[in-house]
């Protein structure tokens, strides 16, 4: 058997994976009856349908000619995702004054066109701008600076 549409084949496999994860995740919940539907009914049957569609995609991948896989460019997603996760980890413990610049400096490397000095200046300016806008003008509850182990907190 030759693969005639790699894109459909992989998409199908991914759909089956999603379906299996969902079915596993609701496996310990009651399904109920049609009269009184339980918590697992909707997700389980949706997952089964998604899985069947996935199977059709897999079969289609061998039967129908289709598109090749597209290239992924992972530089952007890598730096941006790492930056955002870092933001999630530091915003509570250290506050925006640390989390903001840290995230922006990392995220900025998501493009090959990055210029270091420019990025540092931009990150500093944006940090000040965001604190003024969101904390002082819009009155959002975003921690500005906390130093762990001390009672310093803004």
């Amino acid at each position: 058997m030759t693969i005639r549409s790699p894109q459909n084949l992989i998409a199908g496999l991914a759909l089956i994976a999603i379906a299996l994860i969902a079915i596993w995740a609701v496996s310990d919940l009651p399904q109920g009856s049609l009269r009184i539907i339980g918590p697992a009914m909707m997700p389980r049957w949706l997952a089964i349908i998604v899985g069947v569609i996935g199977l059709l995609f897999v079969i289609g991948g061998f039967v129908v000619d289709g598109e090749p896989l597209e290239r992924w460019h992972l530089r952007g997603p890598f730096f941006i995702c790492t930056g955002m996760i870092l933001f999630a980890l530091t915003i509570r413990t250290f506050g925006f004054l640390v989390a903001g610049p840290l995230t922006m400096l990392l995220v900025g490397y998501g493009t090959t066109e990055v210029r270091r000095v420019e990025l540092i200046v931009f990150a500093a300016a944006m940090t000040a701008f965001c604190i003024i806008l969101f904390v002082y003008i819009l009155d959002q509850a975003i921690p500005v600076l906390t130093i762990p182990g001390t009672s310093i907190k803004f």
């Binding site: 919940l29 918590p39 998501g110 493009t111 969101f134 975003i142």
Partner: protein, 503 residues
């Protein structure tokens, strides 16, 4: 008739306070500011700006949201005209002639006629909303769970048929959207579903986070590889007010665009997206010299932009009267309203008329703001387009982080955002559209609730959906639509229509 005006009067009385006007203005301003960023469409804009309305009272928050909404729409048109980057599907048409006008040094006129046409369309559709709200709300009151369920099925089928690309893929996306909506506590028993024991998954996924991830960050990923977003606008805006000739040429297209857009916008399922395409096709057919289209014909901007705004406005009708969002943008608006404790639907009009009519009136004010304040400021927005993308995307990411964090003050939400962004990027690599998924996501919870109630009433019998005449009718429409869309002849012309609009 008298009712209509007294109702609008009530609405204006609510909306026209100094504070609300100011909020509407600020909303419009910020909406355009974010909406004008390349690649950021109305969905991502509303999601990013949603947190700033949190401290406000419901009426004021809604009014500000309406401002953000129109600002975002107009911001999308601005990037479409100046940079030829459409923020959403319906803006694709505007890029055709709008961008050509900009290249001929008539950018200002294109922006001006878009704003004027939008304002006219907005005024007419505000009146339509006011006239239809009452009868439709009464219709909603005879809807039981079975009818609601069938109506949502029909809406989703509409959305599937109108999505670009494969119908099969669109159906898959709708199903995944509904599946995602079941994450979190069960509606009746409160048991946690698919949260994997993670505490910050316990409430499920917030629609605003979905919007930011799938339409904001994922778009940044795509832009970073495509580099088209690196385009910086260097041209001049020129005169903003169209001359007498331009106005004479645009008058009829604006009228026709408004009619077409308003009618299509009322449809459940993403009818509004068709408006701009339909209007463009009509204008091209009616034109004495169709070859001018695609080379900067002002009718090609005036008509579709009016249709777009009319549709954007009348798509509030299914939301406000039936509680059913017809497209992804409205889906985000539902999320926004729910966060403020307002459940869109027939009860809004019956229980808090001042809220309802206040919103309707503020839509019109939002449109007016756009014309008289935003338009002259367009030079300022263009300055933002001169910020290189290598810095702009950093700003977009940090705004999303702050936005997501301030919804629940939950760092875990940012992890969800990251996952959804990667998912959105993967979808684009396999040519799946995120819009039907967003709609499925929002309708999912309501569908499950109504399905359960309908089955409790019918003692577990599915025949209730075809025995009740209204429900049977709605399902029949859905089936007919699907069959038509899948029939070979229509399929071919449908593919052709979307390909043409891509060029």
């Amino acid at each position: 008739m008298f009712d209509l005006f007294s109702n609008l009067g009530l609405g204006l009385a609510v909306a026209v306070s100094l504070q609300n006007i100011a909020l509407c203005f600020v909303g419009c301003l910020l909406g355009t500011l974010v909406g004008v960023l390349p690649g950021i469409g109305p969905i991502a804009t509303i999601a990013i700006l949603l947190p700033i309305t949190f401290g406000l009272e419901p009426v004021s928050a809604l009014i500000m949201l309406a401002g953000i909404y129109y600002g975002a729409q107009y911001g999308g048109s601005t990037t479409a005209i100046l940079l030829s980057i459409p923020g959403e599907t319906s803006a694709v048409v505007t890029t055709l002639d709008g961008h050509q006008m900009a290249r001929q040094g008539r950018a200002g006129i294109a922006l001006g006629i878009a704003a004027i046409g939008s304002f006219f369309a907005g005024t007419v559709s505000t009146l339509i909303i006011a006239a239809l709200a009452d009868p439709l709300t009464r219709l909603a009151l005879v809807f039981g769970p079975a009818e609601y369920f069938s109506l949502m099925v029909m809406g989703l089928i509409f959305a599937v048929v109108l999505a670009r690309g494969s119908i099969f893929k669109a159906i898959t996306m709708v199903l995944i959207g509904i599946l995602l909506s079941t994450i979190g506590p069960d509606l009746t028993t409160g048991q946690l579903r698919m949260t994997f024991g993670i505490p910050w998954m316990a409430d499920g996924i917030e629609i605003a986070i979905l919007g930011m991830g799938m339409f904001g960050i994922a778009e940044v990923f795509r832009n970073l590889e495509a580099r088209t977003a690196g385009t910086v606008y260097r041209g001049r805006i020129g005169r903003l007010l169209p001359g007498r000739d331009d106005l004479a040429q645009s008058a009829k297209p604006i009228l026709r665009g408004t009619a077409v857009g308003a009618a299509l916008g009322i449809l459940p399922g993403n009818g509004a997206v068709l408006g701009a395409f339909a209007s463009y096709t009509i204008e091209k057919k009616l034109a004495a010299d169709p070859s001018r289209f695609g080379r900067g014909a002002i009718e090609g901007v005036a008509g579709p932009e009016s249709a777009n705004n009319a549709g954007a406005q009348t798509s509030f009708i299914p939301l406000l009267t039936l509680g059913i969002p017809p497209n992804a943008v409205m889906a985000i608006m539902v999320g926004a309203m729910t966060l403020h404790g307002i459940v869109p639907g027939p009860t809004v009009l019956t229980r808090s008329p001042e809220l309802f009519w206040g919103l309707v009136a503020s839509m019109w004010i939002g449109n007016l703001m756009l014309l008289i304040i935003n338009l002259p400021l367009v030079g300022l927005w263009v300055k933002f387009l001169q910020v290189p993308y290598r810095l702009m995307f950093v700003g977009i990411v940090i705004f999303c982080c702050i936005g997501v964090y301030s919804i629940n003050r939950e760092p875990g939400d940012i992890i969800i955002l990251t996952a959804l962004a990667m998912f959105g990027y993967a979808l684009s690599k396999f040519n799946f559209e995120p819009a039907p998924m967003t709609l499925g996501f929002v309708l999912g919870r309501m569908m499950e609730e109504n399905l359960r109630q309908a089955l409790i009433i019918s003692h577990g019998s599915f025949t209730t959906f075809v025995e009740r005449p209204l429900s049977a009718f709605l399902l029949a429409v859905a089936v007919v639509l699907l069959v038509i869309a899948l029939s070979p002849a229509i399929k071919r012309s449908r593919e052709k229509a979307f390909v043409e609009s891509d060029e």
